[in-house]
């Protein structure tokens, strides 16, 4: 393995979110989606966000990606304020976003090609990340020939191949069946161990959040606010059997309680 591709050489940065406000629309019909959200994600930290649907957790991710404009507050990645989308913030979306006209390999090569890597180096990067997600044999397939889980694996490889400082994941396994989802979680644990990218991971699946993250942020319903940050002290490497451990169940009970409180408050 060449040095460009080892974990220690991969870029990673922290995320600072300060008093972020997001309001859709204007005047009486406007909706306050996020109201004063502040938190910090350390470099190389895996941070998950859970919250009731409509709490603005996905919007928050889009704001960090620079794909939406915030109404107020500041967001900085690696100390640099976010003013729009950029290659330093990779993203895996809930919907399938592979470019249908490109093969799997060409999809993964999209970022490196744009950055001007020569063909040989590009091929090396593509080979490495397709190997990471176990899809080497599918390099020349079109996305339409892949299953949902495979598409999301390629999307992960494509985001990582561009070597972003942070990886934003918006319910990336939300559309998958539960078996595929479990396999994807195991894969992500392994891949993250290799890359140690700063990850901001949005999900509505509490098990998924605890299993993957170093810290789980629990959000309240609309307008979204950070209710509590729960550190997950479970040592790595982790595996899927964790879900039956008392420690895991205790954490799950805490988070469920926080979410349930919120539901009760709504009615």
């Amino acid at each position: 393995m060449t040095s460009v591709l080892t974990a220690s050489d991969m870029r990673s940065a922290d995320i600072g979110i300060e008093d972020v406000v997001l309001r859709y629309g204007q005047g009486e019909n406007s909706v306050l989606a996020l109201d004063g959200v502040s938190f910090h994600v350390d470099r190389n930290e895996f941070c998950a966000i859970v919250g009731p649907s409509g709490c603005g957790k996905s919007s928050l991710l889009y704001l960090v990606a620079g794909l939406e404009e915030r109404t107020g507050g500041t967001i900085a990645v690696g100390g640099k304020p976010v003013t729009g989308p950029g290659a330093n913030r990779g993203m895996v979306f809930q919907s399938y976003t592979l470019f249908p006209w490109l093969t799997v390999a060409q999809n993964v090569a999209f970022g490196p090609k744009r950055k001007g890597f020569p063909a040989a180096e590009r091929r090396e990067i593509v080979d490495h990340f397709l190997d990471e997600v176990g899809l080497t044999q599918f390099a020349n397939h079109f996305p339409s020939q892949l299953s949902g889980g495979m598409k999301q694996r390629v999307a992960l490889a494509r985001a990582l191949a561009n070597d972003p400082e942070v990886l934003l994941m918006d319910e990336p396994f939300g559309a998958l069946d539960s078996q595929t989802r479990t396999a994807m979680q195991a894969l992500l644990l392994k891949v993250w161990d290799h890359t140690k990218k700063t990850v901001l991971f949005v999900t509505h699946d509490i098990d998924e959040a605890i299993l993957l993250a170093d810290r789980v942020l629990v959000m309240s319903g609309r307008p979204g606010q950070i209710k509590k940050a729960i550190p997950i002290g479970i040592p790595r490497p982790r595996n899927m059997d964790l879900v039956m451990e008392p420690e895991f169940i205790a954490l799950k009970r805490d988070i469920l309680g926080l979410l349930k409180n919120d539901e009760d408050g709504d009615h």
């Binding site: 989308p85 990779g90 993203m91 919907s95 470019f99 249908p100 339409s144």
Partner: protein, 270 residues
């Protein structure tokens, strides 16, 4: 499988049918049309002055093919359709994509385009003659006027329909807005644009007769009009059949082009 359940399965919505059956049915429908045609004409149910016998149409075709007039008129029509289609498409594709991608262009063009596209083409023929004269340019103008605004609207719609997260994914990989349009919006709409071109090519053939009805000296529309004055129904039928066949040929060419140019997308037409 029993023959009854096999028959049932043919009428299950969207279920594919055997390839051979598909080909057979495609030929069978023509056999039915020709049998119906023969029955109507030979039984005397329809007078020969309204509907010629099949062999009369074939004879007329062979005669005109032999003395060369058929090719001359066919060539004239192909020329008009192709030039009109080409000029229209060359402008409509980039403009339509721009219109669908940039809201400012859409806001500027939408009110105008949506007005003009409902104007009847035939009512512009006298104006075109006044403005352009009676040369081939006039006929080409009719074709362009007939399809350009439709192409524009459909292509803009297709560009508007590009999934937003596909565009977002490109942004998070570091593309600029301009690159995103070139590298994502254009290829994403390619299969659709080719479908739209195929459909509007068909419309171009249907506008041909409108274009050749007045002031033309050649073309399939022209000879059918001339034939009507002499009650040569067989020639009219021949001209209509030729336009249909030429339309079918261009349609098949477009299907092939689409298959080769967008191999990743099998579309709904296949």
């Amino acid at each position: 499988m029993s023959s009854e359940s096999r028959l049932k399965s043919l009428f299950r919505p969207y279920k594919p049918i055997p390839r051979r059956l598909g080909i057979f049915l495609g030929i069978f429908v023509w056999v039915l049309v020709i049998i119906g045609w023969i029955a109507l004409t030979y039984s005397g149910a329809v007078k020969a002055i309204f509907l010629p016998r099949p062999e009369e149409v074939v004879e007329a075709t062979l005669k005109m093919a032999a003395n060369g007039t058929l090719w001359e008129h066919m060539f004239a029509s192909i020329q008009v359709v192709l030039i009109g289609f080409f000029v229209s498409s060359v402008v409509a594709v980039p403009l339509g994509l721009t219109m669908g991608t940039y809201r400012v262009v859409q806001a500027f063009l939408d009110p105008l385009v949506n007005f003009v596209r409902y104007l009847p083409v035939s009512s512009f023929v006298p104006l075109f003659i006044l403005w352009i004269g009676i040369g081939i340019e006039q006929r080409v103008a009719v074709i362009i006027f007939g399809i350009f605004f439709q192409q524009l609207v459909m292509i803009a719609d297709s560009a508007r329909g590009v999934p937003r997260d596909l565009v977002n994914a490109a942004y998070t990989l570091g593309t600029s807005p301009g690159d995103t349009v070139r590298q994502v919006v254009f290829p994403a709409t390619l299969p659709n644009v080719l479908d739209i071109l195929r459909v509007t090519m068909g419309w171009a053939w249907t506008y041909l007769v409108v274009a050749e009805l007045v002031a033309a000296k050649s073309g399939l529309g022209y000879i059918s009009l001339k034939a009507m004055r002499g009650f040569q129904v067989d020639v009219i039928f021949m001209a209509i059949a030729m336009i249909g066949i030429l339309g079918l040929c261009t349609d098949q060419i477009f299907r092939l082009v689409r298959k080769l140019a967008a191999p990743w997308d099998h579309g709904s037409s296949q």
